[in-house]
Amino acid sequence: MVRNPIRNARENTMKISPFTPSRARPVLHMLGVCLLASGCAVLHSVQLGDIDSKTVLNEQPFEIKVSELGLNTEDAIAIGEAIASQAGRGEEAALIGDIIELFQTGPRTGNPTFTKKFSDHVGELLIQECPSGKITGLMAIRETAQYPVVSGEIVRLSGYCAKD
C-alpha cells in the first residue's frame, strides 16, 4: 500500500511538534503555573524626598520593606459562590458576598488586609537602618504584588544614610 507522502510528512511533523495536544498540555500547565507564581506588580504611589547628591552618589542605598497579606474579596466571593452553587446554595453565597462587598467601599490602594498597622513601625526600622538620622533621597513606594485571590500589600522605603 502506497501512502500519500504529504500526509506522511504531516504526521511526522505532528509527532515532532511540541504543540501536539498530548505535549501541549504539560507546557500550558507549566506556563499557567509560572504566570500564577510570578504575579503582577501594581504601583500605587511614589514619594521622593530631598536629595543630598554627595551622599547619594557615594553611599550604598538601604531598603526597608514591610508587607501584609491582602485578600481579593471579589475573587474569594466568586470562588465561594462556585463551590456553594455545586451544593445548591449559590444564592445564599451570593447574598453573603454582596454583604461583604458592602463593607469594602471607599478609597483604598490594593486589597484589604487583616491588619491596618502593618506599616506603622517603618519609622523605627528607619532609625535602626540609619542611626545617625541623616537620611537623604528617601523614596516611599506603595505597591501591590497581585496573585489569584491573595496579594502582597507592600510599603517599601529606600534611601541613603549619611555617615557622621
Partner: protein, 143 residues
C-alpha cells in the same frame, strides 16, 4: 474598509492619561537650575512583573546635580492608556531644583522684610505744648 481604517486611526490617536499620585517637598528660594528624572514602563496586556524602573530616580536626579542638593522635588505618577487592555504604560516623573549648599542664603527682599514701625505708630514724644510747666525755660522759672 475606509470606516475600519478611520476607526483604527481614531483609536490609535486617542490616549488617556490618568494622574495616579503626586507629592512635593518644600520649594527652595533658589530655582535657577531645574533637574528632572523619569521612570517609564510599557505594559503589554497590562502585565507588569516588578516596579524596579523607579529605583533609579534618586540617583538620576543626584547625577544631574552632583555637587549640590536637589530640593523641591515634585513626584508625579501617571497611568497611560494607549489602547484599551492591550497597551498601557506607567510614567513616574520627578522634577526638582539643584541648590548649591555653599551659596549664601539670600537676603530677604524689601517687600518681604518685616516693615519698620511707622512714625504714626511710634510712641509720640511729648510735644512742647503738652509739656508740663516744669519743663519751661529756666529764665521764666526765675521770674
Amino acid at each position: 474598509m475606509k470606516k475600519t481604517l478611520f476607526l483604527l486611526l481614531s483609536l490609535w490617536c486617542v490616549g488617556c492619561v490618568h494622574m495616579r499620585s503626586i507629592s512635593t517637598t518644600s520649594i527652595p528660594a533658589e530655582r535657577s537650575k531645574p533637574v528632572e528624572a523619569e521612570g517609564y514602563r510599557f505594559m503589554l496586556l497590562m502585565i507588569n512583573v516588578d516596579n524596579d524602573y523607579i529605583d533609579g530616580l534618586t540617583k538620576d536626579l543626584a547625577a544631574e546635580c552632583p555637587d549640590g542638593r536637589v530640593e523641591g522635588i515634585l513626584t508625579k505618577q501617571e497611568d497611560i492608556m494607549y489602547f484599551p487592555l492591550i497597551a498601557h504604560a506607567v510614567r513616574v516623573t520627578a522634577t526638582g531644583f539643584c541648590v548649591d549648599p555653599t551659596a549664601a542664603p539670600e537676603v530677604p527682599a524689601e517687600e518681604d522684610a518685616p516693615e519698620a514701625p511707622a512714625e504714626e505708630d511710634a510712641p509720640e514724644a511729648p510735644a512742647e505744648e503738652d509739656a508740663p510747666e516744669a519743663a519751661t525755660p529756666p529764665e521764666e522759672a526765675k521770674k
